[in-house]
């Protein structure tokens, strides 16, 4: 038998052996343990340190940051918690402890679902999900706020859709964690920041697919109430088609995925091009119609004007004057003809009145001895012999003194 002192292990070797034993014990590397949380410490490193205890025992626990950020249950002192992890050794402290990777409330997921259902019922009672509360989405958002993680595939999906569909918009990313115990408060702040500091027309709150635990932040009461309180309309696009969270109920519009949210938020640029073309065509058509109407109006006016053309009026008047002139000439000719006819009639009448018939009415014809008619007193002088012819006899007579003066006086 060797003296034990000859084979003394270093502390490090011993600790390594203890660690080996613990880590090789199958059920200790994948174990659920339930206890009450105490000595909770959450330093800036993001790791969570605490002790789980029951009435007689306790065990040190640690959850590193990479696991802590994925939790949906936030440990609180005095809380009964189910913790999953593996048992190992912290060599520097000489401590075995539980390296935790998952928290569940004492009732497991069932507990969480029950809690969510209670919250949902409460919010429904408050009218938070009422359809009348839903605000219409802007048809063409100039600016779109996105509440998601800058590193997430969801954000890439949203960008891709917006580039192809509505690149006119300005995207304002309000970055946040989208899973883990810090996520709800960050999502709330991201929504509030957009409301306070920007004039985005609509907000998309989104996260890609994952386990129900990954999506649990979107069932958080704080997130749901922030969505309801948002001044700006909100579109939710969380997980896959089949995932429905309370955030979806609270949002003004629920889209099944982040890509669908980007699509629902925007018009298609092809439709916009078509609308511009349509407006341009309408412009052309109305303008041409107008020109045609104007030219018809012009034609009517021209016709109306032509009827009142002074040249035409003068020619018309001239024509009428000509007509009158012709008629006047004709009338004159007729008149002269009538006068001539009357004259001819008179002449013949005159001819029929013979000298005899004149003599018969008491007139006499005086002739000189040579037979010429005496028609004026100057043709004879005192003592001349004349012949006087009555209708029934012929007498010779001598001209006596000129009694014209006396005759004229007697007429006065």
């Amino acid at each position: 038998m060797l003296d034990a002192s000859d084979h003394a292990l270093s502390v490090t070797d011993l600790t390594a052996q203890i660690r080996y034993v613990l880590e090789q014990t199958p059920h200790l590397e994948d174990v659920w343990v339930m206890g009450e949380v105490s000595n909770l410490s959450r330093p800036a490193s993001g790791h969570i340190y605490f002790t789980l205890k029951d009435s007689t025992s306790q065990i040190k626990c640690v959850m590193f940051k990479n696991s802590a950020t994925r939790q949906i249950v936030e440990p609180q002192t005095g809380q009964r918690l189910r913790v999953h992890g593996k048992v190992s050794v912290y060599e520097a402290g000489g401590q075995y402890q539980l390296y935790a990777d998952q928290f569940q409330s004492a009732g497991g997921m069932g507990d969480l679902y029950a809690q969510m259902e209670r919250l949902k019922a409460q919010l429904e009672l408050e009218g938070a999900f009422d359809l009348e509360r839903k605000r219409p989405l802007p048809p063409q958002p100039r600016k779109i706020g996105i509440v998601t993680s800058p590193d997430a595939a969801a954000f890439q999906d949203v960008q891709k859709v917006l580039r192809g569909r509505f690149p006119l918009t300005l995207v304002i990313l309000s970055p946040t964690l989208v899973q883990g115990i810090e996520a709800p408060s960050q999502i709330v702040r991201a929504i509030e920041r957009l409301n306070t500091h920007t004039d985005v027309d609509v907000i998309i709150v989104c996260r890609g697919g994952g386990s129900i635990e990954d999506l649990w932040s979107f069932n958080d009461e704080r997130v749901v109430r922030a969505i309801i309180a948002s001044r700006i309309p909100i579109i939710s696009g969380v997980g896959h088609e089949t995932d429905v969270t309370l955030a979806d109920f609270a949002a003004d519009h629920r889209s099944p995925t982040p890509s669908a949210a980007a699509l629902d938020a925007t018009p298609d640029i092809g439709d916009l091009r078509e609308a511009v073309r349509h407006a341009a065509t309408a412009l052309q058509v109305y303008f041409e119609d107008r020109l045609i109407a104007e030219s018809h109006k012009m034609e009517r006016l021209t016709t109306a004007l032509a009827r009142r053309d002074p040249q035409m009026m003068i020619s018309g008047a001239r024509q009428r004057v000509d007509e009158l002139h012709i008629r006047l000439g004709q009338a004159q000719t007729r008149h002269l003809r009538r006068l001539r006819e009357r004259l001819v009639g008179l002449a013949s009448t005159l001819n029929t009145v013979s000298a005899e018939s004149v003599l018969g009415r008491g007139y006499a014809i005086v002739t000189r001895p040579d037979g010429s008619l005496v028609t004026r007193s100057q043709q004879v002088k005192d003592g001349d012999m004349v012949t006087i012819r009555w209708h029934d006899s012929l007498h010779t007579a001598r001209i006596g003194e000129d009694s014209s003066e006396r005759y004229k006086r007697s007429l006065l």
Partner: protein
């Protein structure tokens, strides 16, 4: 018509539609119609140009409320 080039797509498109509606009403003097028609053609061309040239812009909203390039 330099003012048109300064218009955003939304504004230019809204102006274009308003203008078409005005022409549609049809009781404008002819010279005003001609003016609107000319402006409408420029607005439509401006809209098309903006649609063709559009590129998605992304900014990041910081904790302090300021914006930075993404």
């Amino acid at each position: 018509m330099n003012d048109i080039n300064a218009l955003s797509y939304e504004q230019a498109y809204r102006d274009l539609n308003d203008l078409v509606a005005q022409l549609e009403s049809g009781d404008l003097p002819l010279d005003e119609s001609v003016r609107l028609y000319e402006r409408g053609r420029l607005l439509a061309a401006h809209c098309q140009k903006l649609l063709d040239a559009a590129e998605l812009r992304i900014q990041r909203l910081n904790d302090d409320g300021g914006l930075s390039a993404f």
